[in-house]
Amino acid sequence: MNFFELQDQAHKKTWLLIALFSVAVLCIIGLTVALITASFWGFGQSTSVNHAAGIQPMQWGSITKTAVGVIAVIACVIIYKHLQLSQGGSHVAEMLGGRPIEQGTNNANEQQLLNVVEEMAIAAGLPVPPVYVLEETTINAFAAGFNESDAVLGVTRGTLERLSRDQIQGIIGNEFSHVLPGDMRLNLHLIAVLASIIFISQTGTLALYSTSRSRSKSRGGLPVLSIGIGLLVIGSIGTFFGSVIKSAVSRQREYLADASAVQYTRNPDGIADALKVIGSGVGSNMASPSASECSHMFFGDALFLRAFGFLSTHPP
């Protein structure tokens, strides 16, 4: 199988996973709506008997209202997370402690990196992004940014010092595939939607917390308590499956990026050797405290999640 076929295969699997993710999110929203309506309506029925005549219209009206409310809240969270994440790649690079490389640097390694990045930009048909160096001894690299015009590349010092020119070229080719339209945006959408599911479970925790504090005024405590527990359960299940699917998508994108790196460099040995060097004990873990938020962006696994295969963002 050649690299074009491998790219097609990764594309197909990605879309399958995206469909699965959407179905999961819709189920979560549906469950949340059902839960909130059920607890409020169930509570209303038990306290006031004269509702009995008008149950049917009341029920549908409240379901619609709740659904609109839940969807509005989730949309707000997604939009907020989008705004937060789309500040551009240089922001991410600086958050990770990167230092930009200037044109005409005196360091031979840095000059070589700049040259390699320019070459790969030509091969991928994209503008040349700014390059950042992270002062870490391990081998890793990332691409960040909302679209191709504000993308940046970051490479660790260890990569420059330990790898040959061909190997660096393979890694940069891999990162350029992430800069291509669609990939970073896809990641961004996934994170934003995942954040809204996490928000559901956080709301649940908050509701539980507030009921336990105001237990003395027990009026209205029961529906809030049941909603709290329900939201927490739904949110946790949703977060779990969401993370699993997101990691699976991430792994597919990584296969795609490896195939693209071979397309750009026409040199499968470069990236294969680079991966072997990482596998041979140098490692790719990052020391920066912000690394966990950005694990999906890196070339190698930035975090030590390999033990849990299904949560790993990169293929083994």
């Binding site: 070589q112 040259n115 320019e118 030509i122 750009y264």
Partner: protein, 89 residues
């Protein structure tokens, strides 16, 4: 004093060596940029031709002004181009 002389005499050599490394890096990079430009062009042409000949577009391509396949960039002296330039002084 002898040691000092050695250092001074070795210095131009060292400097030349560094310059040579820079030069060879620049040559490699320039060669690669030319090769990758050609490769990116040919990849785009291949993608265009494949899409043009795929199932629904093949019926509409001519009507929308894409009647023929694009040509790949083929160099007549590709063997000479493939060979890297030699550096010698």
């Amino acid at each position: 004093m002898g040691k000092f002389n050695l250092v001074v005499e070795a210095y131009p050599d060292l400097k030349a060596n560094e310059n040579m490394m820079q030069l060879s890096e620049e040559l490699t990079s320039t060669e690669n940029k030319v090769a990758f430009s050609r490769q990116a062009f040919n990849d785009s042409v291949t993608a265009y031709n494949e899409f043009r000949q795929s199932f629904p577009p093949i019926f509409f391509a001519s009507a929308f002004g894409h009647p023929t396949d694009a040509n790949l960039l083929i160099m007549e002296d590709s063997a000479e181009i493939q060979a890297a330039p030699k550096v010698s002084f």
